[in-house]
């Protein structure tokens, strides 16, 4: 039976839909009844008859890597819970979706909450959690209601609560709303926020959530999309799932394309099976009329920018080769080899109408606003980077400003408590490294601000 999608929302031929199979279906709604007609919760029932460890093993075999940003193998993460643990274990679904350029979890929680809940029940059983939280950003008020309703439906059916389906397994899932702070997406910031405090990220080590997480108990934090994949891994079997995608980059993932393309949108593809050229030209319809592609930010605004006219040297020794920008495969390892990252799957495209100083300035405003303020390099550095780029973007910059910016950026990364330091300085470092000429051209010696003393002194100096 073929699935009917809403007009104009049909998946493309290049797509392979697992997670987004039911997104934008014309005959779909987020109710339990509809989900059951589609065979939902069968994998949950199967899981409850398995050994929890066997589920973790399937997830390990599948090679699933987290879809929230870092791309860490999910099964391996689950294995980090200390074996002699006696405290309660918590599972947290990270639905903060706040990385600029990312818009995928939104559709899952609005249109298909039962897929997430089934994935969470299976995952909670596998890691031994009896309480799980969905941390959802405040800006998804409608989704919070939809999920609450879905949770209530699960209770009615006996899929949540005590002794689920006679298995002896108890589980409660609760929703927890954030309050518009990007840093709540960082897993230890999220945990602090869930504990009712300011979301100040914790120092790692020792606070690896899998050992010391929520209420100082072992906690697994996974992205919405990652948890949904667990359901499909169980259905297909880990080995079969691993055949999707390419080596070490298995399965499917959702790429979200925004910015200067004819048809922006979300596409679920096999990881690494689509190249930059196919994505931007075939799937997104190419550049806008009369325009040319200039640059791509491939994995959310924190990832390093790539120029469309770049060639990359990848691999080592005998494997070393040149890779043209357009031949980049959209997987974790290839993008990392090109000096950027696959991150959260948010692909932001810029064409030749965009001034790079303006782009840089917009990004700097975001990070200056969102720094939690704990670490001096991050709090002060981002504030200054914003001020300096404000000046450059408004035409009042001096050539020195570019060096100042660069030096601030390099004083942030590697010197902070959480990865926000890298997230905020990498874009600046990469944009300056790749567009120094363009930035310099926007500055002028004439803008140099000189003190009265300096001007007085210069009267007596020989002109250079």
């Amino acid at each position: 039976m073929s699935i009917q999608y809403k007009e104009g929302k049909e998946p493309l031929a290049q797509e392979h839909r697992l997670i987004f199979r039911n997104i934008d279906r014309s005959d779909w709604d987020p109710s339990m009844e509809r989900a059951l007609q589609d065979g939902y919760y069968e994998q949950m029932k199967k899981a409850l008859t398995m050994e929890p460890k066997a589920i973790t093993d399937e997830v390990k075999k599948s090679g699933l890597r987290g879809r929230g940003g870092a791309g860490f193998p999910t099964g391996v993460k689950w294995g980090f819970i200390p074996p002699n643990n006696t405290k309660p274990v918590y599972l947290i679904c990270n639905c903060d979706e706040s990385e600029p350029g990312t818009f995928k979890d939104r559709y899952i929680v609005h249109q298909d909450p039962h897929q997430l809940l089934e994935g969470m029940i299976i995952s909670a059983f596998a890691v031994g959690a009896h309480v799980a939280y969905i941390y959802i950003r405040e800006e998804f008020p409608a989704a919070a209601h939809i999920i609450e309703k879905a949770i209530a439906e699960c209770h009615e059916k006996g899929f949540l609560g005590k002794n689920i389906q006679g298995s002896g397994f108890d589980l409660e899932i609760h929703i927890h709303r954030g309050a518009a702070a990007y840093i709540c997406g960082e897993e230890t910031g999220l945990i602090e926020s869930l504990e009712g405090k300011r979301p100040y990220p914790r120092i790692k080590p020792p606070y690896f959530p899998a050992a010391l997480g929520l209420y100082m108990a072992p906690t697994i934090v996974n992205n919405v999309e990652s948890l949904c994949h667990v359901k499909h891994i169980l259905e297909m079997g880990g080995d079969e799932y691993a055949k999707l995608g390419v080596a070490r980059n298995t399965g499917t993932r959702i790429l979200c394309v925004s910015g200067d393309v004819k048809k922006p949108g979300y596409f679920e593809v096999e990881v690494g099976k689509v190249t930059m050229r196919e994505l931007l030209y075939d799937m997104c319809g190419g550049p806008k009329d009369g325009r040319e592609f200039k640059a791509v930010i491939p994995g959310g605004s924190s990832s390093k920018i790539l120029r469309c006219d770049e060639t990359f040297k990848i691999g080592r020794g005998d494997d070393a080769k040149d890779l043209d920008f357009w031949d980049i495969q959209m997987d974790f390892d290839t993008l990392a080899a090109c000096g950027s990252m696959a991150g959260s799957g948010g692909v932001i495209v810029l064409d030749d109408s965009r001034k790079i100083s303006w782009v840089l300035n917009n990004i700097n405003h975001f990070y200056a606003h969102e720094s939690c303020g704990q670490c001096t390099p991050c709090r002060e550095g981002n504030g200054w980077m914003k001020k300096v780029s404000d000046r450059i973007a408004s035409g009042k910059g001096t050539p020195n400003d570019i060096d100042t910016l660069e030096s601030i950026a390099y004083q942030i990364d590697g010197r902070t408590i959480c990865a926000f330091g890298e997230a905020s300085s990498w874009p600046v470092e990469a944009i300056i490294a790749k567009y120094r000429d363009e930035l310099l051209a926007e500055t002028s010696e004439a803008n140099v601000v000189k003190s009265a003393e300096q001007l007085e002194r210069e009267k007596f100096l020989q002109p250079v």
């Binding site: 818009f103 518009a180 948010g346």
Partner: protein, 191 residues
């Protein structure tokens, strides 16, 4: 902490929007909801519910007042300062009344490329909002009639359909400046 110290820190100045929101009062419904949220966390971790309680307060009373902070602190058995530190951190929590319809326009890269700054300008022009009154501490600007208030938000996770905005709890996508009028017409001043 006594109420007077709280009031000094949480000043909550009157705004033209104040008239649309009732003064804080914890009725049975609010208490019952709070108790339900609190039950979702371990008994010795009631504090975890602070954001959920604050959202209920803000939804009903428009903003977080000193009085409501006292109530939340009492509910959770914590010092009011612990609630204050949360309220003052999160951009999603307000300390003065917004307009009846609070508009949040996405400012981040993809939406900015699609024209969200132009949308912001148009909305301010149509609603007669002066954004110069907004500060870092209080980023919300309210229209003289109190019907509308506006602020920039960071990426709302719908970058492919920008410019996007939230009006109270309603999400709107693909709203270029030319459609600002249409958008406001859905939230008329006499409704």
């Amino acid at each position: 902490m006594s109420n007077s110290i709280l009031e000094k820190n949480i000043a909550s100045p009157e705004t033209p929007g104040s008239k649309f929101f009732p003064p804080f009062a914890a009725d049975d419904e609010l208490n019952a909801k709070a108790d339900r949220w609190i039950s979702h966390y371990p008994e010795d971790q009631k504090r975890s519910a602070v954001l959920m309680l604050l959202h209920d307060v803000q939804h009903k009373f428009g903003y977080i007042s000193a009085e409501s902070i006292d109530w939340v602190a009492g509910k959770l058995d914590i010092e009011p300062i612990k609630v204050v530190e949360v309220v003052t951190f999160y951009p999603g929590l307000r300390q003065s009344a917004p307009g009846k319809f609070h508009i949040r326009v996405c400012r981040t890269l993809s939406c900015a490329m699609a024209g969200s700054y132009e949308l912001m300008d148009k909305l301010c022009e149509l609603t007669k909002i002066d954004r110069n009154q907004a500060t870092h501490e209080n980023p919300i600007a309210v229209s003289p009639c109190g019907n509308y208030s506006i602020e920039f938000a960071e990426c709302l996770a719908s970058c492919g359909t920008g410019p996007v905005c939230l009006v109270n709890d309603d999400f709107h996508e693909a709203i270029p400046a030319e459609k600002a009028n249409e958008l406001l017409a859905k939230y008329p001043s006499n409704s």
